[in-house]
């Protein structure tokens, strides 16, 4: 546990900042609704009011408090993104494992691998955004359907990442060693191959959460995402976009800044995790120069008493 915590604390400053933003985003996703000063779904009489004492970040065209929307939208956007990436991660890793691991060159595993890969090709051949639009359009604009759509379009990437990592690990000799000991193939996959191949996938998941937030907001921006009046960044940006030219910038710009900050932070966090995991696995690149690693059993000792 301490070792895992260190992955997060021993980081470059910008990653630390990103971690704090992500932490804040997750906290706001849970309690954001209660912090909102006004009801984010109820209009007030102040329409298009600029930032002031009563409305810190102004109001939009329907008189809804922008701060309340921005804060409450954490729940919608971050939650959708995290849940959908969670689903995507589990399903993708599963599919990736089935398609990547050869099960000691079993023929049926080879066939199922081909089927999975071609299916992934099919999904990936359609642009992500258009596919998501189509899915939500077909199934209807509910939070659940957006989650499913976002999860679905992200799945192939996780599957492929896992697959390639697993193929790299399967050639390591400890896999052969386990086979020679007589561990069953599923056992090897579960206890040796998977734990050693999830690093890059986990690191990518964080980056993908950022992407998923962007996708969720993008769908709403086009009116194809979560139904209004549910508070949502993309919808709010869209609703304010017509007013920027007349000077009411806050409606679009404020949610826009929040959105990009959160997305960037998830990406930075993912990158930080990736670098930290790499470092942890190399075990410090200087280890090979360190005399103490070989002294113990080398001739050193024999000379000692000779």
């Amino acid at each position: 546990m301490m070792r895992h915590l260190q992955l997060l604390t021993r980081q470059r400053p910008r990653v630390i900042v990103a971690e704090l933003v992500v932490l804040a985003a997750v906290v706001l996703a849970v309690i954001g609704g209660w912090l909102a000063p006004y009801d984010p779904e109820q209009p007030t009489i102040d329409v298009l009011a600029g930032p002031s004492r009563t409305h810190l970040l102004g109001t939009d065209a329907s008189g809804i408090d922008v701060l309340s929307v921005v804060v409450a939208a954490f729940r919608v956007d971050v939650l959708i993104a995290v849940v959908s990436i969670g689903i995507s991660l589990i399903a993708g890793v599963g599919l990736g494992a089935l398609s990547g691991y050869s099960f000691n060159r079993s023929r049926s595993a080879g066939m199922s691998s081909t089927i999975i890969l071609r299916a992934l090709d099919l999904v990936q051949s359609i642009p992500v955004f258009i596919l998501a639009l189509a899915l939500v359009g077909m199934a209807g604009q509910s939070v659940r359907n957006v989650v499913i759509a976002v999860a679905f379009v992200n799945l192939p990437v996780f599957a492929r990442l896992t697959r390639s990592a697993i193929q790299g690990i399967e050639h390591r000799e400890f896999v052969s060693a386990s086979r020679a000991i007589g561990i069953r193939e599923f056992g090897i996959l579960r206890s040796h191959v998977m734990p050693n191949s999830l690093d890059s996938t986990i690191a990518y998941a964080s980056i993908a959460v950022g992407g998923a937030i962007l996708l969720t907001a993008g769908l709403s921006f086009l009116g194809a995402g979560v139904k209004p009046p549910t508070p949502e960044w993309g919808a709010e940006i869209a609703s304010g976009s017509g007013y920027i030219i007349t000077g009411e910038w806050w409606i679009s710009v404020i949610p826009g800044i929040v959105l990009s900050t959160v997305v960037l932070s998830f990406a930075l966090l993912g990158d930080g995790i990736r670098v930290a995991l790499q470092r942890a696995h190399r075990g410090g690149e200087l280890a090979e120069y360190e005399p103490s690693t070989f002294i113990e059993e080398s001739i050193e000792e024999r000379i000692g008493s000779a």
Binding site: A177, I183, G283
Partner: protein, 658 residues
């Protein structure tokens, strides 16, 4: 000796680390004279590579280098600017690294790379073409024009290393720093490369700093030696002095640890520093001479019985499918209680054979029987029983342990898989196994990353012993380890074999090592058995020309200035398109027309104990002839005039045909 070419005074290299700075090089001083080959020998972590790089001021970041003196010719390298240094590197001093595959640019033709090197040092375009061909020619690459247009992946390992040397030498440097230049190569190819280095020195008066862990190489071509240990030079002197009469204990131990082809090793026990008296087991080993068991000892019941075993790997897409002939028609029996050594160069199929025996792979054709049951038909409980009886130890101890498993957990996995003992007894059994491989029980809670190579290999052995196997297979179990550690692991195998009454099948490319550990030796060449013989006979009287070439290709630390003769020309052909007839005929000194047309059967002599697949085996005269000519090249002539070894091959050829 004239004024030295390179002078190094009190060189130190340090790296920052979490526990304060580390100093892998701790104040070493040495000089290199013009036209000298100086060996820098040491084990991994001794700082020898860093020392070599420091001479060019190429210490990798974040390392920092300091020295009181570093002069090349009359240039003070400590004071020169980066741009001057850059001019010196390549033109006046050059470096070649161990792995030519990673040091050559993968997407530039060899010629282009040399061209770039020449252009960087201001050679006019008009001259470059000739210079490229000249430098490729000087390293003995056949058909330089074609090689110049090849990419590095199109060349074999030895050719690549030659190309690398050609690149390094293109600007005519006077100092060459060669970092383990032959470690990645096969023995017969290594012999060729060593000859090349000597030739270059003789013709160009080049100075070579040869960094290696191999004392045989040092003895065969170096004029002087520097022995490094833990960042310090512990001994230096002429090769003869250091090898014949080592002063420092470390040098002595290092020399003692090298396996010898023609004599039993001075067991490392003589310098054993383990605290306390030797255990009972060790005393037994000391007193029991390492001889092959006699006919009566070995019950001649085969454990493994292979008939016509063939393994082909398909390569490439269906419409351009090629076949890798990893193994072809192997007939072989492994007997209860014996140790069988399998030798061969890369591509000989030796690892494939072991993997087949371990049932990690299935043969394309042929049958493998374990005791009475055929491997291909094992299922369920029978398979499980087989797994517990046959265990394997792999070459690379760095990848054969799961990095996320502690030592105890790795061993425990093996115990549980076969329900060897009650879960309550597991801890005790793990402790026992660790003790058996001479590791203290405190290692149980460590992760592989916290262990050295030798310790990891011990853990792998402990894991293999966990289900109490009858047969232990080992695929190059020590080739990734330092010489001194090798000696310990070899010793451990020998002890375990006796303690557990194991049948041992060991693959190695180091003939001396196999000879020492096995009762019987098999040579594989490109997937076929070339020779099979009791190990003593194998070492004394190899009959197949390939075994003979292999056994004479290893430089021997006891024969100073003896350059191994090149008996097998060129390099092993690709197993994708093996030569017709006898697969060795393309490199053989005895080959005649028949060899290319017919596959030689396995002839046997000595009551069937000694088998070989050759129409024209090595004759007694050839053996004598070679022993004389090889030695003469070294001892009768001064060092500079050592004959390039090509001549001996011709002599042998004559002897063979006449």
């Amino acid at each position: 000796m004239s004024e030295p070419l390179l002078q190094v005074g009190n060189l130190r290299v340090s790296f920052p680390s979490s526990g304060g700075p580390m100093t892998p090089v701790r104040g070493i001083s040495f000089e290199l004279g013009r036209g000298e080959i100086v060996g820098l020998v040491g084990e991994s972590g001794s700082g020898k590579t860093l020392t070599g790089r420091s001479c060019l001021r190429l210490v990798p970041k974040p390392g920092a280098m300091e020295a009181d003196r570093l002069t090349f010719e009359d240039i003070d390298l400590l004071q020169t600017s980066q741009s001057t240094l850059r001019h010196l590197r390549g033109r006046r001093m050059a470096m070649i690294a161990q792995d030519p595959l990673t040091s050559l640019h993968p997407s530039l033709r060899i010629g282009t790379q040399i061209d770039n090197a020449l252009a960087d040092h201001g050679v006019p375009r008009a001259h470059r073409r000739d210079r490229i061909l000249e430098s490729l020619d000087s390293v003995g690459l056949p058909d330089p024009d074609r090689q110049a247009h090849s990419y590095s992946h199109q060349l074999s390992g030895g050719m690549r290393q030659r190309a690398m040397i050609a690149l390094a030498l293109s600007n005519g440097p006077s100092l060459l720093i060669a970092d383990e230049p032959t470690t990645a190569l096969d023995a017969t190819v290594q012999a060729q490369l060593l000859g090349l280095l000597v030739e270059l020195r003789n013709h160009r008066q080049m100075t070579v700093l040869l960094i290696t862990h191999n004392l045989g190489i040092i003895a065969s071509i170096c004029d002087r030696v520097l022995v490094m240990r833990a960042g310090e030079i512990v001994e230096s002197g002429t090769t003869t002095d250091v090898v014949r009469d080592p002063q420092h204990d470390y040098t002595k131990a290092l020399l003692a640890a090298v396996p010898r082809l023609d004599q039993p090793r001075m067991l490392p026990h003589t310098v054993d520093g383990r605290k306390g008296p030797p255990t009972v087991v060790e005393q037994q080993t000391l007193s029991v001479p390492s001889t092959a068991p006699t006919e009566e000892d070995t019950q001649r019941t085969p454990v493994f019985d292979l008939a016509g075993v063939t393994r082909h790997f398909p390569l490439g897409p269906l419409w351009r499918r090629e076949i890798v002939h990893a193994l072809d028609d192997i007939d072989l029996a492994v007997y209860q209680g014996e140790s069988l050594g399998i030798v061969g160069e890369s591509g000989s199929g030796k690892s494939t054979l072991v993997r087949l025996l371990a049932l990690l792979d299935q043969p394309t054709r042929g049958t493998i029987k374990f005791q009475t049951s055929e491997l291909a038909h094992l299922r369920g409980a029978d398979l499980k029983r087989f797994r517990s009886r046959v265990q394997i130890v792999f070459q690379d101890p760095y990848s054969s342990l799961d990095p996320r498993y502690t030592v105890a957990r790795s061993i425990q996995e093996a115990l549980r898989a076969h329900r060897v003992c009650d879960p309550s007894e597991e801890r005790g059994r793990i402790r026992e196994l660790l003790e058996q491989v001479r590791l203290s029980p405190q290692f149980a809670s460590r992760y592989p990353s916290e262990l050295s190579g030798g310790q990891r290999q011990r853990v792998c052995i402990a894991r293999a012993l966990a289900p109490r196997p009858e047969v232990l297979l080992a695929d190059e179990p020590v080739s990734a380890l330092d010489v001194s550690v090798q000696a310990q692991i070899v010793e451990l195998f020998e002890v375990l074999k006796r303690e557990e009454n194991l049948t041992l099948v060991m693959v190695a490319h180091d003939l001396a090592l196999v000879r020492e550990m096995s009762d019987r030796v098999i040579t594989l060449y490109l997937g076929r058995i070339a020779e099979e013989a009791p190990s003593k006979e194998y070492a004394d009287r190899p009959l197949h020309p390939y075994s003979f070439a292999l056994s004479r290709a290893t430089p021997d630390p006891d024969r100073i200035g003896y350059l191994p003769p090149i008996l097998a020309a060129g390099e092993p052909p690709s197993p994708v398109r093996p030569p017709t007839g006898c697969r060795f005929h393309t490199r053989c000194f005895n080959a005649q027309g028949r060899c290319a047309a017919e596959v030689p059967p396995l002839y046997s002599v000595n009551g069937g104990a000694h088998r070989f697949a050759c129409f024209y085996p090595v004759t007694e005269e050839q053996r004598v002839e070679l022993a004389r000519s090889g030695r003469a090249a070294a001892s009768d002539m001064p060092d500079h005039e050592k004959t390039p070894t090509g001549e001996t091959v011709d002599q042998i050829r004559e002897a063979g045909t006449g």
